[in-house]
Amino acid sequence: MGQPGSAYSLEKPEQKLETHTMSVLVDNEPGVLARVIGLFSGRGYNIESLTVSETEHEAHLSRITIVTTGTPMVIEQIKHQLDRLVPVHSVTDLTVCGETIERELALVKVAGVGEKRVEALRLAEAFRANAIDASLEHFVFEITGRQSKIEQFVALMQPLGLVEVCRTGVAAIGRGPERM
């Protein structure tokens, strides 16, 4: 007998996971972020990254950018589930809506002396990271870019005395003159 296929089946058919970036326009009211996060935890969806801030002060609208992974069916579910929350104005799957620019900011603290310290500074210049705090024993670099660039920079800092990292999560916007 093959795999049982009820909704309670332990194994789901193998489907390729996709990573999507969604932009969600919401009323900036108390609890709205809890609704979004609760939806993801309650239904077992993944959050890779989430950023939120009020973007239109007069209309009290906030923009939430969520990076999530799932099968195509789950991605479609996430979009519809978000869309039916009452304070949600719009949900845009930026990954399928043409070209998108994604950026993340990270603060990277590196401690060290001598050759390692020089190497860290040299790499920071190559990555166009700014030193925004420094002493004779450390730097704090500010770096902006796609997630892959930040991952790479952090990996390079690891042997050079990486102390800690703080990342903002992804902010994303569509290319071209149109509003999403």
Binding site: Q3, G5, A7, E76, Q77
Partner: protein, 594 residues
């Protein structure tokens, strides 16, 4: 206190609540007082427009509001206090969410300056109810209260209906603020769809016209869309001549007495409905959601059929089953659009193929899947429901149920010809739903016959609501199929766990006749088939609440049944099972499922 010309007037928060309810056309609310809602109860006391029904437990208040809502199409309204009042309501709210029932639940809250201080009877109501409501609000500004209340009614009844909680701190209830009447302006973010996309409807009608083995599969969405949707559904189904089946929640939207009706589908659906679903080439799903009780084994669910799905909630589409032609829209509009498209097209359908399809369906029907072995010395539960159905013909009857075997027997042997007559907990499966729901239904329909087809285990979960029925002279009939077991649990233990009946037998049950008398209701008992009819007649004729203790066969099982992990065309039938069949009914893989 009526609103003046520009629609705004100053009043206290508690007065705003009553005014908003009146302006929303509310006549009845179900509730239970407590410290944090006393100002609202004080206003209730000083008016006569809105009648309050005092329940015995807040869960009962929500179920009563659900029964009221389901049987009338109106929004059910609940009023409870903070803390335990709100947490007791959670089961009812979740039930209403799962079954898409419009309910507005007003909860009291501790004064705003105490929120977050672990005050007496404080709980994070909006936090707790966030995942079990369609939407919820905490009102911190009395000037926003009227707007929030009107919005709560709009959200509860629009699109896919559901429960909405409005949490009102006690100081807001005392504070004075501006009342604004119902606004007609469009909601800024929540605007559910109505008409379906015409291109999708044309594609659906084209597929329907070309079908050789079509079937309609309808659900509670048709009932939620109002009586007009059920009427349109009948027209569409008659027009096409295609067979129709329905989910548990959709019973009554299409008349069970009609020849195109195949009975309910799913885990305890009929042989003909499930086989027709499995073998169809075009499935027209309207207002149902491919729930796991319906689909059974997903990878073997209706293989090879073209699936059309009409739903007002886009998140229901492609959730469990891939759909070929999705139509997002309100059934009330989409069915009419389908009728218009069908008429415009005036299709020449394949009559020969349809005749073959109906022949096939007839052979399935001949299997007589609901046949059971009746007994002369003990009442079979199926027989009890059949007799109840027969003896209530011609009466204005509403049925509620609890959850378990009796619920499935009610769905199988009590037949519905009209929508809004059948109130049951489908999605959440809440034992204890039936009595309070019957109270709500009877409140809305004081002269009708309201019967809760119940099990003796479920009924004890909310038995105290009989007291509510007695207080308000609501002559509800609680028809208990008493087999002393949690029957469905016992059945699964028999099928799955080698007959080890772990804690499914109630060793100490009350004497239900004496219990009825203790509540000042009427108790009736039937133990033999010969006395059943007279006892049922007596129950129907008693103008008071009745608890009917129908002592039935203790080990009857509910068949037919799709064992978990199996497909629609692999059903267990009741009349020819051996002990060995039962032993091997469910595969090892199937046993891990619910």
């Amino acid at each position: 206190m009526s609103a003046n010309e520009n629609g705004s007037v100053t009043m206290t928060g508690a007065q705003i609540v009553l005014q908003a309810l009146a302006d929303q056309g509310v006549e009845h609310i179900f509730g239970y007082p407590g410290g944090a809602v006393l100002p609202i109860y004080d206003e209730l006391f000083q008016q006569e427009r809105i009648k309050h029904i005092l329940v015995r437990h807040e869960q009962g208040a929500v179920h009563a509001a659900e029964g009221y809502a389901r049987s009338t199409g109106k929004v059910g309204v609940v009023l409870v206090t903070s803390g335990p009042g709100a947490t007791n309501a959670v089961t009812g709210l979740t039930d209403a969410l799962m079954d898409s029932i419009p309910v507005v639940c007003i909860t009291g809250q501790v004064p705003t300056h105490l929120i977050g201080n672990d005050a007496f009877q404080e709980c994070d109501t909006v936090g707790i109810t966030r995942p079990c409501t369609k939407h919820n609000y905490l009102v911190k500004d009395v000037n926003q209260l009227a707007k929030v209340l009107h919005e709560a009614f709009y959200v509860a009844r629009s699109g896919r209906p559901g429960p909405v909680v409005v949490d009102i701190p006690k100081d807001i209830q005392f504070m004075s603020g501006t009342y604004k009447g119902v606004s007609n302006s469009q909601h800024k973010s929540y605007v559910p769809p109505r008409e379906g996309d015409q291109a999708a409807i044309d594609a659906a009608v084209e597929a329907m016209a070309k079908a050789k083995r079509p079937i309609f599969y309808t659900g509670g969405g048709v009932i939620n869309a109002g009586p007009a949707a059920s009427k349109s559904l009948r027209e569409l189904v008659h027009m096409t001549g295609y067979p129709i089946t329905s989910t548990l929640m959709g019973l009554g939207s299409y008349p069970a007495s009609d020849k195109q009706w195949l009975g309910m589908l799913g885990m305890h659906g009929t042989f003909e409905a499930n086989n027709a679903m499995h073998d169809c080439d075009v499935m027209i799903c309207i207002g149902a959601r491919f729930d796991d009780r319906i689909t059974g084994r997903l990878d073997a669910f209706s293989p090879g059929s073209t699936k059309i799905h009409v739903d007002v909630d886009p998140s229901s589409i492609n959730k469990n089953v891939h759909v070929d032609i999705p139509i997002v829209g309100d059934c009330a509009y989409v069915i009419d659009q389908m009728i218009a498209a069908w008429k415009a097209r005036n299709p020449s359908i394949d009559k020969e193929a349809h005749a073959r399809w109906w022949d096939q369906i007839e052979t399935w029907r001949k299997r007589k899947c609901l046949h059971y072995r009746n007994k002369s010395d003990v009442i079979m539960p199926q027989y009890a429901v059949e007799r109840l159905f027969a003896l209530t013909r011609g009466k204005d009857t509403y049925i509620t149920t609890e959850v378990g075997q009796h619920q499935m027997w009610a769905a199988q042997y009590f037949h519905f010809d009209e929508p809004n007559r059948w109130m049951t907990s489908g999605g959440l499966g809440t034992m204890g739903y039936g009595i309070p729901a019957a109270v709500g239904v009877q409140m809305a329909h004081p002269d009708s016959l309201v019967i809760d087809i119940a099990g003796e285990a479920s009924v004890l979960m909310t038995m105290q609501e009989i007291s509510t029925a007695v207080q308000y002279d609501l002559p509800v009939k609680i028809f208990i199929l008493n087999n002393e077991y949690m029957g469905m649990v016992r059945q699964w233990q028999e099928l799955l766990h080698g007959g080890r009946y772990s804690h499914s037998y109630s060793e100490a049950l009350p004497d239900f006749v004496k219990l009825a008398e203790a509540y000042h209701a009427v108790g009736i008992r039937a133990e033999k088939p010969a006395e059943l009819d007279d006892a049922i007649r007596e129950m129907i004729e008693t103008p008071k609440p009745v608890i009917f203790d129908c002592v039935v066969d203790k080990t009857a099982n509910c068949f037919p049944m799709i064992p978990s992990g199996e497909a629609h065309n692999n059903m267990l039938m009741g009349d020819d099972l051996t002990d060995e069949d039962i032993e091997n009914a469910i595969s090892e893989e199937g046993k891990v499922m619910v």
